[in-house]
């Protein structure tokens, strides 16, 4: 995973809950494409058709609040979203995103739909329209999990090292 991410913004508001990110009726499968096809359906039914690989989701307060469903992070990841930027996250979504290798950044940014957002995970910064915003840089141990592509890959890498 690259530590510098650049993509087109999709703006969502405050308190975007996991039920709208991936409605409960689509949870009973292990087919990632199903999650991707219904990403954000509860708030924007056309999102999965409009979003392009590399795009960035921008939320307000409390993005990903609600249930523990990891499918919410998976839906965004497999829909092609490269990063989620929000003022702050629901804490389980925050953990899930890192665990499935979906980069995220806590930052209060000024941004509108379609703006190009540049996120530097190692620096903990976001740049939009030539303006820089300071975010909360992730602790190193979480950056390592993200860099390895998620917790499963991270654990496998550690197990390799031990051998």
């Amino acid at each position: 995973m690259e530590s510098k991410i650049k993509g087109k913004a999709w703006i969502f508001g405050d308190d975007i809950d996991t039920d709208v990110i991936i409605p409960g009726k689509y949870l009973r499968t292990t087919d990632m494409q199903v999650f991707a096809d219904h990403a954000m359906e509860g708030i924007d039914p056309d999102f999965s058709r409009k979003v392009e690989k590399g795009d960035v989701v921008v939320g307000g307060n409390n993005f990903g609040c609600g249930s523990s469903r990891e499918q919410a992070a998976l839906a965004l990841k497999y829909a092609g979203v490269s990063c989620v930027v929000a003022k702050f996250f629901g804490r389980i979504f925050f953990r899930n995103a890192i665990n499935v290798g979906l980069p995220l950044m806590e930052a209060d940014i000024e941004c509108k739909d379609g703006d190009i957002v540049e996120v530097d995970l190692l620096e903990g910064t976001v740049r939009v329209n030539g303006k820089d915003f300071k975010g909360n840089k992730l602790p190193d141990f979480l950056l390592e999990i993200l860099t390895d592509g998620g917790l499963v890959e991270h654990r496998k890498a550690l197990q390799e090292q031990d051998k």
Partner: protein
């Protein structure tokens, strides 16, 4: 000068743990249900691992889509059952045993001072017993399956104090909704809550579970009631191992404090589509409803069913009314003591113990444009069905609304 959370994480990590520190904590009990175990087991297998860290410390109740509603669900259930047998996990609760957050306490896994982690956001329910109960996602759970430990950021703590005697037909759910309305849907994000005051100590175990269950609805990582005699009595003969109660120090540091005036509290309702969109029942009284749902890990316990039956006794419901006990033992007791008969005679439908339609999976989802008054914990947009509207309330407010077909103040019916 430590909070309950700091003390529990100190023990679980083997070192002095203060708020905002990252620590590695040993998990006492780990829970995954039929919904989250699918991805947790998938991740566990992808990690290339064969055996879980300690089968006795893993608890798996099937509750989210039970009995299986489709062939796909049945196949997923089948695979998880096979894995449970392979791993020799003794604490498996299959279809009909009840909702995870009821099953764990009933079977003594939620104990004071313990770190109980569930792959379900409402795992904060275990705080009703003085445990640090918290929710994680599936891959975090696979890491616990693998190693028995997980990283945490030790949370800061908010202190909520509720004082006063509750009025007639004002219940634990009303205190809970009032608290969430006061703190806000994100007011406790990344934080734990501790609950104090005579209102809280007066609550039954069942009521405390309602309160702690919804800590996540203000963003909370945990919601904890300090254990007392009621807790110890409940755990007598149930607790699966010895436990040591943990209390906050007098000079513990809280990042925020809230006071709830419970003596003057009216029945509360959370309007669509956010749980903190809370008002007195009078403000929404008269809103037509299509369905009433009494159940879930929030309000599917015996006292909830009994209070609904008291209202419905000898009457007939005006709209379809689903009652789903939170566990098999609750259902048995409701049958034994006549509660189930009263509800059925009043025209209510009784469902298999489990989550029911709460998360929109099956067994009572609603149509576009329909309104449901529910005793559950979430009223998010589309949760019980696309285009549906969910109002959250106590079981007595829900039962009163069942009689009239509109949201009703239980003190007026």
């Amino acid at each position: 000068m430590s909070t309950i959370s700091e003390k529990i994480f100190s023990r679980a990590s083997g070192k002095e743990a203060k708020a905002n520190e990252f620590i590695m904590a040993n998990v006492d009990y780990a829970m995954a249900h039929d919904g989250t175990s699918v991805l947790a087991v998938r991740s566990f297998k992808k990690m290339g691992l064969e055996k879980v860290w300690d089968p006795k410390r893993i608890v798996i109740p099937f509750d989210h889509l039970t009995p299986a509603n489709t062939e796909t669900t049945a196949a997923l259930h089948h695979d998880i059952r096979e894995w449970i047998a392979e791993q020799g996990i003794p604490n498996f609760f299959d279809v009909g045993e009840g909702i995870c957050h009821q099953v764990l306490p009933e079977n003594g896994f939620a104990m004071p001072g313990k770190l109980v982690v569930g792959a379900d956001s409402h795992s904060c329910t275990y705080g009703a017993f003085g445990a640090f109960g918290t929710g994680v996602g599936a891959t975090d759970m696979s890491e616990i399956f693998a190693a028995g430990k997980l990283w945490f950021k030790v949370p800061e703590t908010i202190k909520v104090t509720a004082r006063g005697k509750l009025g007639k037909h004002v219940l634990a759910k009303d205190v809970t909704l009032k608290t969430i309305g006061t703190v806000g849907a994100a007011g406790a994000t990344y934080k734990a809550a501790e609950f104090y005051g005579d209102t809280i100590t007066d609550l039954s175990i069942s009521g405390r579970m309602t309160l702690c269950n919804m800590a996540i609805e203000m963003g909370g990582k945990a919601g904890i009631v300090p254990p007392d005699k009621k807790t110890f009595d409940f755990l007598e003969g149930r607790a699966v191992e010895e436990y040591e109660p943990v209390y906050a120090d007098e000079d513990a540091e809280y990042c925020a404090e809230y006071d709830i005036d419970a003596a003057n509290l009216e029945p509360q309702v959370a309007r669509p589509h956010q749980v903190d969109n809370v008002c007195d029942v009078m403000e929404v009284a008269g809103t037509k409803v299509d369905q009433v749902f009494i159940g879930t890990c929030t309000n599917g316990r015996l006292e909830d069913l009994e209070i609904a039956a008291d209202i419905l006794k000898g009457e007939k419901v005006a709209v379809r009314t689903l009652v789903i006990p939170a566990s098999r033992s609750i259902m048995i007791e409701a049958i034994r003591n006549g509660t189930a008969e009263t509800l059925l005679e009043a025209g209510a439908t009784l469902g298999t113990p489990g989550c029911g339609p709460c998360l929109g999976g099956h067994m009572g989802v609603i149509a576009e444009g329909e309104v449901c008054i529910s005793t559950a914990n979430r009223n998010f947009r589309g949760r019980m069905g696309t285009g549906g509207q969910i109002y959250l309330a106590s079981p007595v407010t829900a039962a009163a609304s069942a009689l009239t077909g509109e949201i009703s103040d239980p003190r007026t019916v």
